[in-house]
Subunit: 344 residues, 2 copies
């Protein structure tokens, strides 16, 4: 700011990032290496109910008989230019990990880095939108850290509570369960298409939190057997984690898959995100088997990195009607055998 | 990675950052705007013992009669090239906020962003060193988030516990208190000097946690009246926050200031960090008054952004000998009047 070289002009948040949203997630292979190295250097784990081996959507730390702490941190480069949308989507995405564990939101800390050329008002608007979304979830942003960073990055560390006996893990899906999804797929492909309507559709979906979906799962007569949220590794990546940790085969009926408006057309016309091929690494272990009539466009949608995606739940089939009435779509079944995924 | 343009070669972590360590902290004016906007959009605060208005070193959230949760997040671009040093310093810096509130460390989540050109082993080594340091503090890294980011950034969200009746705030310093500092000053200037010995001295200091300093404060007969840690806004910036929140005047005896080996010489020879002038904004409100014989070099040291700096504590003078025996240095007194700072 003090040099004689004129600063570059600010032309929008997304222009400052080369890969936005959950598509910026590090490759699964690297994440796996980091988790192993970190777990090997661990201190005491007596209070840790969910940690890194295996990892779930969030960490869970026991407090007492009635309460455990759910903790997660999530952040990414801008996925849209509008500051309010960016902050709200980052917050909706961050709280999703708490809801995916069966938790309620207590408070959050902002993770905030922006280049000096970004106008202050935009940084303020990002933070305000995130705080408003957290308030809508019943929590408050009560701290955070802000740095100067060559590329913008924003997100939150979110803390919540869960009953230690009612933690929704990725493990636990049982043969005979129904597989349900709470949100349509397609945010990555829609945003990559750069069509204005497509962005509007994707943003509306990404701003919607999984609070109501989690409440619907809490309201069923039987606790869900396994829950996760769909994000950067795409539906198949996250379904694969559930299949592996639950040691089951998931059958996904692609014809039942709920899709965001315009996503199927964009996929058919060849639109792919820059992270499209990277989802593959997380998927490999689950070795999905595709029926012959599953199109390339459908495969792309199944692997499309989602930002602030829905909850994927394996539930007793008797709870399906009640959950369908609350916005869930039945997308498949849990089968014995595996681990693996069958797409038909 | 898939383009035809060859990727730039990796030449070291620090080359990828233009402003490392706590010197990368956003300007105080922006942080103040962010805190106001965030606080204005807050949800319920009934359990929040320490939040944003006023902010302290970490947030504190009430759990029960005996326990409150201390929560902080801290991260920055590389300040050194060695991966192990970077990870350990980032972790020592992050846990410092928990110790500065009087808390113990329970667990942490990694905040991790690196460009694709950084070798995986380096990213693993950064994370491993951080996990080892957290383990040394009695906690465990049990989660985190990793992204591809054009510039490297690493840090942690740290969670700990504190007794709700024994929270060490910035407010509470009383006229007649002694002002103590647990670590020498000078990490910013030493690292800017780029001399090899200087870096070794700074790294050794930055890797040292404030765990023992906090334990010494816990062991005194009387609880400290005010505690904070010294980081990106320099000694005067953080002392200024204590003076303002405590509504007192702090008198700092610059002749008593403990300095890292080589820091005085580097300051006298004109070495300054790129963030040197930015500390000023945080300092302005405290309007420090300097005695005529305080040199420009000493002023630079008083404003030098510290990474993983020491604890600054206002304590009953009767506890000084015990704390001096544990490594604290008496650097001044708390006076009535103010808020303000007098440097002599």
């Amino acid at each position: 700011m003090q040099g004689s070289v004129p600063a570059p002009a600010f032309t929008g948040l997304r222009a400052l990032a080369d890969c936005g949203g959950c598509a910026a997630k590090a490759p699964a292979e690297l994440v796996s290496l980091l988790m192993s190295a970190t777990a090997a250097s661990s201190g005491p784990l007596s209070q840790v109910l969910v940690g890194l081996m295996p990892a779930d959507d969030a960490a869970v730390y026991a407090l007492d008989e009635e309460r455990a702490l759910v903790a997660t941190v999530d952040f990414f480069p801008p996925i849209v230019d509008d500051a309010g949308d960016y902050g709200a989507v980052a917050a909706a995405n961050a709280v999703s990990d708490v809801y995916a564990m069966g938790g309620s939101v207590a408070f959050a800390l902002a993770v905030c880095g922006f280049p000096a050329i970004v106008p202050q008002q935009i940084i303020v608007d990002v933070n305000r939108a995130a705080a408003e979304l957290i308030a809508g979830c019943g929590g408050s942003v009560i701290g955070g850290h802000s740095i100067r960073c060559p590329a913008p990055v924003f997100g939150l560390c979110v803390l919540g509570f869960v009953h230690p006996g009612r933690i929704w893990k990725k493990a636990g899906a049982q043969a005979g369960d129904a597989l349900l999804l709470s949100k349509p797929i397609g945010t990555g492909i829609l945003l990559s298409s750069r069509a204005q309507d497509a962005e509007r559709v994707a943003v509306a979906s990404m701003r919607t939190t999984n609070q109501a979906a989690a409440a619907a799962l809490h309201a069923t007569a039987r606790a869900p057997h396994a829950v996760t949220d769909v994000s950067g590794y795409g539906l198949l990546g996250h379904a694969g984690e559930m299949a592996i940790q639950s040691r089951v085969r998931l059958r996904i009926d692609s014809a039942q898959l709920p899709l965001l408006a315009g996503a199927a057309e964009a996929a058919r016309s060849g639109v792919r995100t820059s992270a499209h091929r990277r989802g593959g690494a997380a998927v490999d272990a689950a070795a999905p088997e595709y029926a012959d009539d599953v199109t390339a466009a459908m495969r792309a949608l199944l692997l499309d990195p989602q930002t602030s995606g829905g909850l994927l739940a394996a539930v007793d089939p008797r709870d399906v009607p009640q959950l369908e009435a609350c916005g869930f779509t039945r997308i498949g079944e849990v089968l014995a055998g595996g681990p693996g995924i069958t797409v038909r």
